[in-house]
Subunit: 486 residues, 2 copies
């Protein structure tokens, strides 16, 4: 690649000749790794015009660098970074500028230090990755997604691809969700009651911003999705964490102070408990009595392979009390980052305005590709395939867990993609996870899910969406061995 003339600027305060300055610009570019071996420099005429200096100054600088073997000349075709030019040391990045800002004072608010743990980014390099929420490439319908993306990249859809939607969504995607996705959960909604979000997490975040303030109380499940707790802590509301039981959240334990109840009735996160229908009705009634709203995170409902999924809480809601969070990310692929909010128009209006301020709208091309993938039936086929694969894997998991004597702590009625596990009380699963890592096994320590001041350390989660069936028994046996159970 040619080095653009536009990367050259003369520094006003430079001490030295123009020629020296030009030499230094080029040498620094090479030493910092910005200019690479074999790259072509601008012609001396071009660079001279750009910098407003005489051409001879540039030529002299180039000649000097030739002598130093930073550059080579290829006759008429010009100057190139020499193949012998010094390589920037890979271990020593360009020295940071001296930062003179007192960032402890300058930062008005901090967002680091939340409860959400760092997850290993190189999980795919481990032989036994019992990680959660990542995709198995062998299950994804890559060919059809590619075709849909191509279609969405066609001339006809150019507008979807390039236009600034302002605060609007892709109408085809919204229509599909209204006509096909939501009815499967028993939900009837008009387009004005639906907002596309950048994944389920974005939907939860938006709901929290709109519904909560420092003076309000959110009731959450304990344990719960740690990123939700980060979101609520940032909104500075009071958080009331309610211990779940084998049927999920117990409405009788929700205090009258709660303004918003966050719940995962289909698959309690992380215990995978399924809330029975009568408790769903009781939850709605309790919410009505204390005049609270309910935010239902219906993640993974498509992964119900043990039994048909129950209708969503939202489908039982006749008052507009439930705000529903759905997502294609988990089931399609997490990197897609598409979800949706369903709620009363008054709420969706505010959500749309907030989203416009924060991100304007999710990229149009992705919305349109998803709309094609959904409406051509590929999504249903994909879900079926994933469901079957997970069902098979779950059976292998179940057998291995029994065989090696591990203890399942949470049990969902409908399936899902993980087991919630309990080790003996003296086990610290954070330390266990570290030890297993060097044995090629990734497990997820459970303590970040808990809101308790002293969270139990002996829980862990085993995901099976990214580990092939044939590796499961060996992986589980290694966990058992590390636990000293074999």
């Amino acid at each position: 690649m040619a080095i653009s003339v536009e990367t050259f600027f003369l520094a006003p305060g430079f001490q030295g000749t123009l020629q020296a300055q030009i030499q230094q610009l080029i040498a620094e570019g090479i030493l910092s790794g910005r200019f690479r071996r074999g790259e072509k420099l601008p012609s001396s005429r071009k660079l001279a015009t750009h910098l407003g200096v005489s051409r001879i100054t540039v030529t002299l600088a180039y000649t000097e660098l030739l002598a130093n073997d930073y550059l080579t000349s290829r006759g008429r075709s010009g100057y190139y970074v020499s193949e012998n030019a010094p390589v920037p040391p890979s271990f020593d990045p360009p020295k940071p500028r001296e930062d003179r800002i007192d960032w402890t004072r300058a930062l008005g608010r901090r967002f680091t230090g939340g409860d959400t743990p760092d997850k290993p980014k190189d999980w795919a390099n481990y032989r036994f990755p019992f990680v959660y929420g990542q995709t198995d490439p062998s299950l994804f319908d890559h060919a059809n997604w590619r075709l849909c993306a191509l279609q969405a990249l066609g001339q006809k859809d150019f507008t979807a691809l390039t236009a600034d939607y302002y605060d609007q969504d892709d109408p085809e995607l919204v229509e599909f969700i209204a006509r096909n996705t939501l009815p499967r959960r028993g939900i009837i909604a008009r387009p004005e009651e639906i907002l596309i979000t950048l994944g389920a997490q974005n939907a939860l975040w938006i709901a929290a911003q709109i519904l909560l303030t420092q003076r309000r109380t959110a009731a959450i499940e304990n344990p719960c999705y740690h990123a939700l707790r980060d979101i609520l802590n940032q909104s500075r509301c009071h958080v009331d964490a309610i211990n779940v039981d084998r049927d999920g959240l117990n409405p009788a334990l929700i205090s009258n102070e709660a303004d918003v109840i966050f719940t995962t009735p289909s698959h309690q996160c992380p215990t995978t408990a399924t809330m029975p229908m009568d408790r769903r009705h009781a939850l709605l009634e309790h919410a009505r009595n204390i005049d609270a709203l309910v935010v239902e995170d219906d993640y993974e409902f498509e992964m119900s392979f043990l039994d048909a999924p129950s209708p969503a809480l939202k489908s039982l809601d006749t008052e507009g009390r439930v705000i529903y969070v759905g997502s294609f990310s988990k089931s399609l692929f997490p990197g897609l980052r598409l979800g949706y909010l369903v709620g009363s128009e008054a709420f969706i209006r505010e959500a749309r305005a907030l989203r416009a301020s924060v991100i304007r709208h999710p990229p149009g091309h992705i919305q349109r590709t998803a709309a094609y993938f959904l409406s051509l039936g590929h999504y249903d086929a994909l879900i079926r395939r994933i469901r079957e694969a997970l069902k098979a894997r779950r059976a292998v998991m179940q057998d291995a867990i029994e065989q090696y004597g591990l203890t399942v702590a949470g049990q969902g009625a409908f399936g899902g993609s993980s087991f919630w596990m309990r080790a003996n009380p003296e086990v610290n699963t954070e330390i266990l996870a570290q030890a297993l890592k060097s044995d090629g096994v990734l497990i997820e320590p459970g303590h970040p899910f808990f809101t308790d001041e002293a969270p139990p350390q002996n829980f862990y989660r085993l995901g099976y969406s990214s580990i092939p069936s044939e590796r499961i028994p060996e992986g589980v046996s290694r966990i058992a061995r590390a636990l000293g159970q074999r």
Copy 2:
């Protein structure tokens, strides 16, 4: 398409027989537009199993609907929504549920009612769209973007496409920005000092969340980008609006109370003024003296076709005082929604954590596609083409504006894609814009850019990125006619 069995749920409180309920489910589906003519119903066996009722109940319901001509039977192949079935009235969407929530109380915070005006979504249907910030499809390099997207959709990049990046960015895109894009603005930054955002607006929003609180003061330009004012109003900081002159923001007018200074030195938005180098130095010095940070929105720097762009303010910053906002959206296409923040590591760390909480990360596929498009040189070629087209159009605009006696209020040194215009003081450009709309001409009223309590009504903006050259003279003449100047 077949109607999925999963869209059927029995309502627990239904008054009537099971058969009647099934009939009603189907009829309602048809009447609400969810089930469409010609769509296939689930087999009676399947639906019976799903609902847990006897098959004869379903068969009887289907037979009844056959008689009513809601359904037709095609022998062994099953039941279909009849071609004679009632069509849902298009003017009368399904009746909304009765909303029993007092939303005035339930909404903790409101985000609607900001300063950002509604823009016409059907601008492409107007013959003379002097709109700003939309793309001209005829200029975009559609073929190569498609090829890059295809490459990013390939097996090799499957991870980029599907993985949950947690809080990370696409390393190839970040590297390209560090090595190629930023150096053109005179900026050297390490990957730890760069964060990919969902467009420039998202970058501004993130910066405001981190740097501002209710007790802090933001200095902004007046007039300025209205969405920035919305963002700052939401953060509830004190806002100090400083009138710009022909050289943009005058640092001497910034009060000592300012904690963060938001500025657009390359092309002041909306006046298009370019800040001269000496004023840039003065601005940095003033910021240092009052210990304020500077957020530099460097939008449209690539659109400098009248003169080479000045180096960014950030390139003059030796202290980490400047936070730089860049974007590919405006120059590539607004629907892409990719931008970036450059700043000290301490700041970027917080920005990354906040972004992870709000959206996790921008979709991987789009980041990778952009990385290819950039690194293969298509972006540079595109910018050159757009720059030449805009230069030609600007010349036509200039001529027409002179010919028809309109008044340019703001003048940038480097080009851009719009003119900032002033009508006579008695003209209300909001009313003018309305009148011109029915004449096929779209102009942008200027008052939303002003922070004044009584903003001047006689300014307007004329964008020329979406109107072909040959229509410009006629469009400008219509504006002049509406202003009574011909």
